[in-house]
Symmetry: C3
Subunit: 460 residues, 3 copies
């Protein structure tokens, strides 16, 4: 393979590249390569009838001979035609830039299929994660990175050189077997966010209707007052913190459950059930959704004093006192209660923001594993504790008063405290010295029954 | 070229490197290389008279023979002297670390000029993007990355090894032709931010004086009251949201205009006018400036209730009511109006923050193109819609009242709604099925007049 | 070394890798390598008695012959046994994945020690920065990066290929001499944050008790009132801004001191004292702690109007006025004073947030050195100036009133202004044209006494 020798010479700027296919993609790519200083030769089945294309179009066989690297800008359906060109393509670097409109349309990835058709060619998957815009107009901020994979290190090196000259940052993803992952990448739309978003929407909807009944409809039925304006801010400011606290607890529940499972099984070598694995993999997204809801809660809380309703109520209260010529007493205990409740909220939210910042890719990459786990685990539990305490202090002695149980339902804040309380309780259990010791031993590889045949099954 | 063979041997730590030039830069670099375990030899025109430098100074020719890699720490003006050394420098790796005090001082980049002078040497541009501080004291957080370019892959590899040993992260930028970009890099001071900052400053200034006249001077002239204290918070809290909303709309206007242009031309293969291209390239910066102004608006709004003026006015209102022995009625419609206005603001701001977070380099790099465009385009329009609605709800029925038109001028919020309304209207037009279908076809490469010769002109 | 040739062939997926050691780490690693498509052979001292391990276990010598790359999953204490295997290990790539439980347990890094024991082998340090979790379950977000070092470029390339196939992003750190740094990495727990955190905790504690005495105990002693509820919000909201402002000033103090030292010495080539170097290295962390405290100050300030205590006091004030049938006058000067004080706070905080955002790794990496220093230095001083002004405006004429000096102590805000005022004063001094000119010359390499022998000492 001479691609590398070509690169060594200091004056190889006018290297020739070949593109199979004169469709939109082929033309866009050719245009970019031409701008970056390459000569571009097109290969086509019908070189005479493919519209205006620069630098002439040859038939496939002739075009292939002109260059060491061939970009395939044709549909996977037409790959089979390439088999007839095998003699010309052997030893060439074939760059597969294809994508499919849907996942799992074909049993094997396009690049794997191509490599099987032409075992003597060097197939490299590349550039498929870029948008058409990125290919045509040069990389913008969102499109600097491109992934590459293939079985030949030198072929990948040659294609990397081309990508680099196009201004891209190339990330090697290993052998051609990684093509499936690369081909799925442009199709994905926040796959890890689906479960957390569904939980957030589901819980928010449920609590919205629950609180709508308790707060708005109840008042209308029993007091005949229309307080429907409360939906916009007051109700939202109950739904968001409730869902946020539950979801924060749901971030830590699977870790606790995994530990209990390991304790129960006496080994770490058996796989967790699938649902637990999936849950654990989207903890970060779950936490970030919870953080977004918590931030909304903060904003909704901070605008309270400028709301017309609040100003009116406070003003009306003061006037009625003034008219009655009376002054109320200052309750020290009430000051302690509200201030401690706000304090816990502020501190919990500040730590929550810190967790969010450390989950930014560039920040978490700069942390050692020990640092990352210190923040996400230790500080995470402190955050959960502070936010749960914030909820308990908000409730204070409300649970003693009958008016809290309208229509025999529990107030929303009580429901929001169930999951966090369970998670914190279980975590406390796991921190007991005797439990902790056993768990640590298991995580260091110790097994309750080392001769358990299931282990062997897993490893082989 | 033997640079690579040298690196293969496991015990090559005491490799020798040569530096031409004993000035400050040469001494700093030599110091760092020496600390990293290299032997350093200096080359100088007058080796006897160049002050205290470690490990002896030789003349250029002798020094060049001692090592395969030569760092040039001399001014571009003296490059011509190197031609006389061509026999000694042929086949060597010459590292050009130079920068110019200004852009476009010379017709060609320093490294290109050097390569032209010494065509048989392997010129590599490197290290020029580091600060003197970074070179001397080792890389700090801001200086881990260094760019490199050159026509010889192996020469770049050899220089990369040295940079890596200095603790740097090397990013390959392609051939020596990229030197211009690398040489311009240290000179740039937020080039993409200039247009957005100018727009922000211009609009802020204009609206500041406009509102100063309407709010402060008008009151002084007609009511004789000095309300100049309003400049600091009230006026700022009108200027910032107005400019922010306009600039958010200006992020989306060029995209809409480009789509209309493509529809009109019937092809995507003709270049946009230069001003449109430049506008589109700074949309991200425009949006971030708008976000900064929106954040200031939020902060200024949230401090409203702790301002002396606001507290005084509210207190005075309550007292006057109490003294008149009267209570005002609660207006349900007013509660709906203010709460919906605040809600839209909170939700719009939250989405705006989300847009800001996804434009962080490390976050946007982790997104697929489909995800990035979902957030920046779809969610972006939702953000613009919510913020515009926030503005309309703020106005409500104020446009019906004569007092809004002091001195026959429009209130500021009305002016701020013009551009967003136009952008949203045009976007709605583009979403009409018949228009959308045609646009999609054009963006897939379809052309109204495929034989249009201008296409050929562009591509060749 | 044939490792590279192996990679060139397009069908090398079933490459064989060898692992020495059948403990937990060896089994986890083997499991992952097997999943990624490698054949794995284990080497053990007692191949017959090491429990269930896949694909058979051989003795060390036989296992070593099966593969070019050998992962050492054994303790450093057992490295000496490997010397007996020198004939089999010569020319092999030995991957040292070891970590020590503590820093500086041994005089030399594990990988350096190994290379000394086996000078003919190619030792590569790798994978040691990953958590056991990361090795076993594949890379999660926090564990994508792995560092690698070693003296042979080709051995590193071969190991990089394996790591890449495991889904990792490999960062080359240079020669085997960098092993110490790599081995220390997993042990570190925010080393650069220790000094700033200690300063923050120390100052916060000191100011807390100082203000507790002035605000709570004084009131209790002289007025007999229990205002202990003020601890939670009011006191915290004094301690946080005070410590934040002092720490922001402490970020800029070392830079000013370094400049004064360079001016005094007349050269930049002499090292700063160690304490100054250490101080300068943790400025970023110092600033981020200050930013966190400033954010808490903002949150605590914004919840002021919804606190029970504040509402009570305002309501009581209005009622007492209403009952006395009196209205207070509006003081224009008071409106200016509070609004300017809030404005400076808002603007200072907004700039502070901007400083925080640009210190995110991915953002600061995208900036040129000139841009980074513009923000962190110029905008940093503006931030310090605005925040200091915020403090002075808060104080206004309080220093004239006797009640400010309870028990002959200064109020907290006065103490917080000392360091920032000194820093800003010294900076102003350095900006004087005559001083600035001399400093610029020194930083360009000019020396007051160029023949000073201490320079030579430093450089050689």
């Amino acid at each position: 393979m001479g691609a590398k020798e070509g690169a060594v010479s200091p004056h190889s700027r006018e290297e020739s590249l070949c593109i199979f296919g004169t469709g939109d993609l082929g033309r866009s790519l050719g245009h970019r390569l031409f701008q970056s200083g390459y000569r571009v030769v097109y290969g086509s089945r019908r070189p005479d009838s493919c519209g205006p294309v620069p630098q002439g179009v040859l038939n496939h066989a002739e075009a292939a001979q002109s260059s060491r690297i061939i970009f395939l800008c044709i549909n996977r359906e037409h790959y089979s035609f390439l088999q007839a060109l095998a003699p010309q393509l052997n030893g060439k670097v074939l760059v597969d830039v294809s994508n499919n409109p849907e996942k799992d349309m074909f049993p094997e990835a396009n690049a794997v299929y191509l490599q099987r058709l032409l075992p003597e060619a060097y197939v490299v998957k590349a550039l498929n994660t870029l948008s058409a815009w990125g290919l045509q107009n040069g990389p913008s901020d969102a499109n600097r990175q491109t992934f590459i994979c293939g079985d030949s290190a030198e072929a990948k090196q040659a294609v990397s050189e081309v990508c680099t000259r196009l201004g891209l940052l190339v990330l090697d993803r290993g052998g051609v077997g990684a093509s499936r992952e690369l081909e799925d990448f442009p199709l994905q739309l926040f796959p890890m966010w689906k479960l957390p978003m569904r939980i957030a929407v589901g819980l928010s909807g449920a609590f919205f209707f629950y609180l709508l009944i308790r707060d708005v409809i109840y008042t209308y039925v029993y007091e005949g007052k229309d307080v429907s304006f409360r939906i916009l801010v007051s109700l939202a400011n109950k739904v968001f913190p409730i869902v946020s606290l539950i979801m924060l607890a749901l971030c830590y529940l699977p870790g606790v459950m995994a530990a209990l499972l390991q304790l129960h099984r006496g080994t770490k070598y058996r796989r967790f059930p699938d649902w637990l694995d999936r849950w654990m993999l989207c903890r970060k997204q779950m936490g970030l959704v919870a953080l977004a809801l918590a931030s909304l809660h903060v904003l909704y809380t901070l605008i309270i004093p400028i709301r017309y309703y609040v100003r009116y109520r406070i003003g009306a209260g003061i006037i009625s006192q003034a008219l009655k010529n009376q002054t109320t007493e200052f309750f020290n205990i009430l000051a302690w209660r509200t201030d401690s409740y706000y304090s816990m909220g502020v501190l919990g939210f500040a730590l929550f923001i810190l967790l969010g910042i450390t989950s930014l890719p560039s920040v978490s990459n700069a942390l050692s594993w020990r640092e990352f786990s210190f923040i996400q685990s230790k500080l995470g539990y402190v955050t959960l504790f502070l936010c749960t305490l914030h909820g308990y202090l908000y409730g204070w002695d409300k649970f003693l008063h009958l008016y809290s149980y309208k229509w025999y339902t529990l107030p929303g804040y009580m429901l929001s405290l169930v999951v966090p309380t369970v998670v914190l309780g279980l975590k406390l259990l796991l921190l007991l010295p005797c439990v902790d010791r056993r768990l640590t031993r298991i995580r260091r590889g110790w097994e309750h029954t080392p001769q358990d045949p299931s282990v062997q099954k897993l490893l082989i």
